[in-house]
């Protein structure tokens, strides 16, 4: 039996124990986390059960879906389709698209505010960030940002929005309430993914052309550090003490220390890794490999790969793709 399979057994056994304990306390047991993976080439979203490590559903989503934002309550996922020029609203439990919302010309980067009321969508063709009211199902705001924006993120308090203006080598920082840009900070060359820490203090961009992660202080609007990565870094995930960045061309995840910003280790992953995100409890890291059509689980304490899960063709999962099942 492989290490990964053995580990799965142990996890399931522990899970059963917890379930019994929870049942005896008359508390509803938490269901397993799921991953919603945008399979761009297949025009679909694959749903993975992260406890059984199995593909449990495939939802057709036309228009070459790429970006994703998971609602804080896990009931909806919002998926951008650059070729469909829309956002698909997915009922995560029912595994189906409820409706689509037309947004911009090339919607890609997407983030949701902590209340779950608004999504923010960056258009990689024109320098715009759109604010979409998810209940009304329409664009309610449109802000000018830098050229060819990619990733979008919000601070946990929902007050600031950060967009990676790829072709201007900068981030735009917007005040969410007024939906106005309040600062521009220069970062490395061609920032793609942007990730904000749990304290809402720092933003980390993966700069695809300079092979760096740029660290920006969101209060002072200053670049405070740079991390050297592998080739073609794409997206950053943040743990308690380390950062993890997918290196697309290197086929690695570079692990760096958040305090010293020094590289700690490189982990070999699948081919052309893109999306990366932690499980809600922070105990597992998931890496989405665009070329090899799979999602790998990495234990962040041992930095060992513990599972590989097959998905559809061309997975990207650019954004927040892990669902904490209510």
């Amino acid at each position: 039996m492989s290490v990964a399979a053995l580990r799965g057994r142990v996890i399931r056994a522990v899970g059963a124990g917890l379930w019994l304990a929870a049942a005896s306390l008359a508390v509803t047991p938490a269901a397993a986390d799921e991953a919603f993976i945008t399979d761009q080439s297949a025009s679909a979203v694959s749903v993975l059960d992260l406890a059984t490590k199995k593909l449990v559903a495939t939802i057709p989503v036309p228009g070459k879906p790429a970006g994703i934002a998971m609602a804080p309550d896990g009931r909806r996922a919002y998926v951008t389709s650059p070729e469909g020029q829309d956002v698909s609203v997915i009922d995560t439990a029912a595994r189906r698209v409820l409706r689509t919302i037309k947004v911009g010309q090339d919607p890609l980067g997407i983030a949701i505010d902590p209340t779950g009321k608004f999504i923010y969508v960056a258009d990689f063709d024109i320098p715009h960030l759109y604010k979409v009211d998810v209940h009304e199902g329409r664009v309610v705001g449109d802000a000018q940002i830098g050229a060819s924006p990619r990733g979008v993120a919000l601070t946990p308090d929902g007050k600031l929005i950060v967009a990676a203006d790829r072709n201007d080598d900068q981030i735009s920082i917007l005040d969410a309430a007024s939906f106005k840009r309040i600062a521009i900070v220069k970062v490395g060359s061609h920032p793609f993914g942007v990730t904000i820490d749990a304290q809402g203090k720092r933003a980390y961009t993966a700069d695809v052309k300079s092979n760096t992660v740029s660290v920006v202080d969101l209060a002072t609007h200053k670049l405070v550090g740079t991390v050297k990565t592998g080739l073609r870094p794409y997206v950053v995930a943040l743990g308690k003490t380390s950062g993890y960045v997918t290196d697309e061309y290197a086929g690695t995840v570079t692990v760096f220390d958040l305090a010293s910003l020094k590289t700690v280790k490189k982990i070999n992953v699948g081919d052309y890794p893109e999306g990366i995100e932690f499980s809600p409890d922070g105990k597992m890291l998931y890496v989405v490999n665009w070329f090899s059509n799979d999602v790998w689980a990495i234990d962040p304490t041992t930095l060992k790969v513990t599972a590989k899960m097959q998905v559809g063709d061309g997975p990207r999962a650019f954004g927040t793709f892990i669902r904490k099942v209510p």
Binding site: P82, K102, F291
Partner: protein, 183 residues
């Protein structure tokens, strides 16, 4: 005048977009990928000896000359392939994993007349197969030759994919022939 005209056209486009949301006005191309492979009647180590040096692409029939620097050091090594037609292609080494018999490369800029693609990168690997045979797997990732809307047919998604498939397959077929003729 010209500006006003453009603005009027833009506004007309916006109006049309509002009444006809299904009309696609603009969208950038989606990245494509392809994998080609070939089985070779020779052990993997022998095949790797032929193709495993990033600085030597002379095993490709269409390559006249390889010049480069940095050896097989990823993130440092570069090579320039001079094709038999005279065109040159500069490639950077992205991965080099001799234990896995694998390397990766990318091309920042390529003349679409040489290959109708943008942002072209690849990974080539030799895999051992039972019975002292091997398989060479070649992956390529790229955007079509025309990065804006409405590409001319020769720079479309389909044309780019076809050109890359043909290139990889032709090179793999020739590699098989060359190695199986070696004794």
């Amino acid at each position: 005048m010209r500006g006003n005209k453009m603005k009027a056209l833009y506004l007309a486009g916006m109006a049309l977009a509002l009444v006809a949301p299904s009309v696609a006005f603009a969208h950038g191309p989606t990245r494509q990928k392809t994998t080609k492979s070939i089985e070779i009647n020779a052990p993997a180590a022998k095949v790797w000896r032929v193709i495993g040096n990033f600085q030597d692409m002379n095993w490709c029939e269409d390559v006249a000359k390889t010049t480069g620097t940095g050896g097989n050091e990823p993130n440092t090594a570069t090579r320039v392939l001079t094709l038999k037609g005279g065109a040159t292609v500069k490639e950077d080494l992205t991965r080099y994993e001799p234990k896995e018999m694998l390397y990766g490369y990318f091309t920042d800029k390529i003349d679409v007349k040489v290959l109708p693609v943008n942002d072209y990168s690849g990974v080539i690997q030799v895999q051992a197969e039972p019975g002292d045979k091997s398989k060479v797997v070649w992956e390529a990732a790229f955007y079509r030759g025309y990065m804006n809307n409405d590409p001319p047919p020769e720079l479309s998604d389909a044309a780019s994919l076809k050109a890359v498939n043909t290139l990889l397959q032709t090179r793999l077929d020739a590699l098989k022939k060359k190695i199986e003729a070696m004794h």
